[in-house]
Amino acid sequence: MNHRLQSLTPFIFWFMLLSASLFAQPKLSFHLGGGFYSPTLGMLDPDSNNVIPSLSAFSKNMLIDWGFKYQFYPNARIGYARSNSYHSGKVGDSGFLRTISYRMLTFETFYYPRKRMELNFMLAPMYNKGTVKLTAESSSGDWDTLLGSYGNSSVKLSTPGEMTKRWFGLASMIGFRYYIFSWLAVDGKAGFIQNSYSEKKWKLEKEKIDGPTMNIKKLPVFNIHLVLGW
């Protein structure tokens, strides 16, 4: 009975959320876009660490953004936004993937100086996450023995390993939004992301290790988003 109730809990949550969205008059908006910034990636940059695969401008300076916001007051919105930076390549024979996610709980106030034009001011506490993942492909002697007993040949297995680090931050941005339609707008923002990152205490399989020495304490950021909202 208890197990059944537990399995129904997420179901009830989504049901209530969807119901509220459908029957209330929510002022919800979703955004999708990109950002530009220039971090000093330290030992995650091939210039300072020859183990790291080559880095394109997209991987170093571009962010992929998405998020949603809810207007809870005539001039204010809250929401969740995420800016991700990706870098992939090969380290030896293993696949390499580095991700930095800037995850923001946004609080934004705004006003319209003129029709179609909005100025907005955003403050967002952040809980960011960095991951470095290596996926090695190798064969296992024990697997080969077992598979061989069934008449199979050797199979290559992929073995992923991931080191992660989480840290707090604060984003502060000023933006300008132009409404093409009442439900579609283009939004540009400029501001800063501040991070309390330290290279200590990265985690790999519950082991605490030292990570890359990124200098991302204070980063100027420019974003451009397409905003869809009702």
Partner: protein, 105 residues
């Protein structure tokens, strides 16, 4: 199977509307939008509004309805959000001050 019920429920709500055959260009939702703006529609009412527009055979009129609804909503939004006083403006000044500080420090 039980998990399909809410999906069916929402689909039936979203699409279970009546067609106004007599006045397709002057349906309930179109009138509501004309009076109160686009955002007066609940999300569950949007499909009905779009179908009312689709059922209206006079395409020039559909374009006029869409444009006027859009313009009215933009005007309402600009009117409702033109003033910037109290706590919301205070928050904006704090953010501006923080950004200016970060630029120079």
């Amino acid at each position: 199977m039980v998990k399909l019920f809410p999906l069916l429920f929402f689909v039936s709500i979203s699409f279970g509307f009546e067609k106004d055959q007599e006045a397709p260009c002057n349906g309930e939702k179109i009138q509501k939008v004309a009076k109160k703006g686009l955002r007066s529609l609940k999300i569950s009412e949007i499909p009905s509004y779009l179908v009312e527009l689709k059922n209206c055979k006079d395409k020039a009129k559909v374009k006029t309805i869409k444009n006027s609804a859009n313009e009215k909503q933009l005007e309402d939004d600009a009117e409702n959000n033109k003033s910037f006083v109290g706590r919301t403006s205070g928050c904006a000044y704090c953010i501006m001050a923080l950004i200016v500080y970060l630029v120079f420090v």
